[in-house]
């Protein structure tokens, strides 16, 4: 009898403890709204722009010392600021990120995503915010200088769900290459480093950043595929898309874009369509 009642008391104490610890953190709505006179944009959580990202793709998005850093990160936060919203970053796998935003698991995707017709069937894209090329990354001592050198039986690494994989399948697979897909881009680079792969096809700026500290890897050849990055948004929220486009245009016009660009791509000229007009 005594044991049962003491168990009950213990159980009740645990429940109390659990509810106490599960207190919601400070209400984000209290801080986000009312700062500017901008009309509130519809988002999943009022006053907050939930942005999904893989967060493992420098220099566009990565985590350093617990903080999100990168070109996409700064640009998204600048845009959100113009709309009077606070950014909440949500980590998500890249190969399911478009269906996730279409299903409204977050408001927007900032993950160095190329605007493609296939993706446009599932999501809406903002106006382009970056011109990108792919790159063929190889071991420095492999002697490969172009995509023509990729031949029969060569294992080429790509990230699942990317345009890099599309390119590899269209151009390299007919040449006899074996395409190896990875969940995350860094995994492909690690495999290349380990010698399991002959090459990796991945976005150029990200590849350059990733191999900056790896002298054993180099970019054999940049591949121009006429790709532009955009922020992916749910088709069910056209107002947000419009608002983001407006804020993006503003950010470009008054020079904030150029500032962010120079921060992450020093020495590279800001493309003419993104130059400030003010």
């Amino acid at each position: 009898m005594r044991r049962r009642s003491s168990l009950l008391v213990l159980g009740a104490l645990l429940v109390l403890l659990a509810t106490a610890c599960a207190e919601e953190p400070a209400d984000p709505e209290a801080g986000g709204g009312g700062e500017t006179a901008a009309p509130t944009v519809p988002t999943i959580q009022e006053g907050v722009l939930q942005v999904g990202s893989c967060l493992d793709y420098p220099p566009f998005e990565s985590v350093e010392g617990g903080d999100e850093v990168g070109f996409d990160v700064d640009l998204a936060e600048e845009i959100a600021g113009r709309l009077g919203l606070e950014v909440e970053w949500v980590r998500a796998d890249f190969d399911t990120i478009f269906t996730a935003v279409a299903g409204q698991q977050f408001d927007m995707v900032a993950a160095a995503s190329t605007i493609t017709d296939e993706r446009l069937q599932t999501v809406d894209f903002s106006d382009p915010y970056y011109n990108s090329r792919q790159a063929l990354v190889v071991a420095t001592d492999s002697g490969i200088t172009s995509t023509d050198d990729i031949g029969e039986g060569d294992r080429v690494g790509v990230q699942r769900g990317t345009t890099g994989r599309g390119y590899a399948e269209e151009v390299l697979e007919p040449q006899g290459a074996e395409i190896v897909s990875f969940q995350a881009a860094p995994d492909a680079f690690r495999d290349l480093e380990a010698g399991n792969l002959v090459a990796v096809v991945n976005d150029e700026p990200s590849s350059a950043e990733i191999i900056e500290d790896l002298p054993t890897l180099t970019i054999a050849q940049p591949i121009d595929t006429d790709e532009r990055y955009g922020f992916a948004l749910s088709k069910d929220n056209p107002e947000l898309t419009e608002a983001v486009n407006g804020a993006l245009a503003e950010v470009v016009a008054d020079g904030a874009y150029a500032e962010i660009f120079e921060r992450y791509f020093p020495g590279v000229e800001v493309p003419p369509e993104f130059q400030p007009t003010a």
Partner: protein, 369 residues
Amino acid sequence: MSTKQPTSQSDILETPAERRQVALARLIQVLGASGLALVILGTISVVLLRGLVPHQRIVEALESAETLWILLTSLALGIVAVATGFGRFKRMPTKTSRERAIAGGVLGIQALILAAALLAFREAGDPERFVFHFFNFGVLEGYLGLFAWAAVNTLILAFVGQVGGMIIGMMLAFLTLSKRKAVRAPARVYINFFRGTPLIWQLITFYFGFALGLGIRPEIDLGPVAFGPAYTAAMIVFVLNTGAYSSEVFRAGIQSIERGQMEAARSLGMSYLQAMRYAIIPQAVRRVIPPLLNEFVILIKDTSLVVVLGLASSEYELFTLAREGYSDSFNATFFTAAAAGYLVVTLPLIRAVNVVEKRLRSGLVTVAA
């Protein structure tokens, strides 16, 4: 007045009223069963008859008048079965008819719930959206061969893991049963390590960590058949992991044989090893087969974890293929197909496990037959 023992139900019943009750019980059971059969088989038939591709046909089938009639009828059958079954079972004269009435009521509940759910889905839900995303078999065009091949890969990974694991497991089990602590301890460490860390961690660490950290690149090239580094690493990890779990199964099996068997064997002049080989192990094998088969079924599903490694397209197993198809098409029908693939592989195995278990159990005294 007959005084012989009642040999069948008809002997026990004495009045026509009782016979009617028994017949009613049978009717209730039939009502419940047919209600359930109608809602399941009827709906599926309507869908199949209209065609599965393109997905609009499925939506039309679900929203058609025929389906409405089927659902309403089975709903009615279900309600009647529940009402009569649970209302009357206490008054049934024989045990069999009581059981029949209750069974009819339970089947009626199931028919009721299913029919009501489907009706609610039809009217209040969005069948078009659901069918488009999960039963859009059109997007699977061209993938059938790939799925078949992927199922083969799943089986290869699981089979190699299981067989290799059993070999390692048997050796480890003996080590854990040794009298010398110096022999038991390393075996214990191995077992605890592989049971204590997540399989997904083991896969990633072995593949990425070893290749980078130690320069170990496992690859198997047997000429016509070649396994790339990811596939080979996965097979190795499955063998090591299953080895740890199997060793526990083997150890428990051996230890479950009573001491008396070992004593009897030793008293006949056999050495420890001979006693093991001729007396203990043969008996332990019977006890060990069902959990090992179970282990195999679980392993088949664990092979899906290789999605986090770098596999070439010819090496894809069911889940990786589904994930790739999904990220290309943004359509979850691939996951439906993967589930079907896994079920096709595991259900017959589960059946086989149950059959084997039954046959091995005969002769041993158990709690429930």
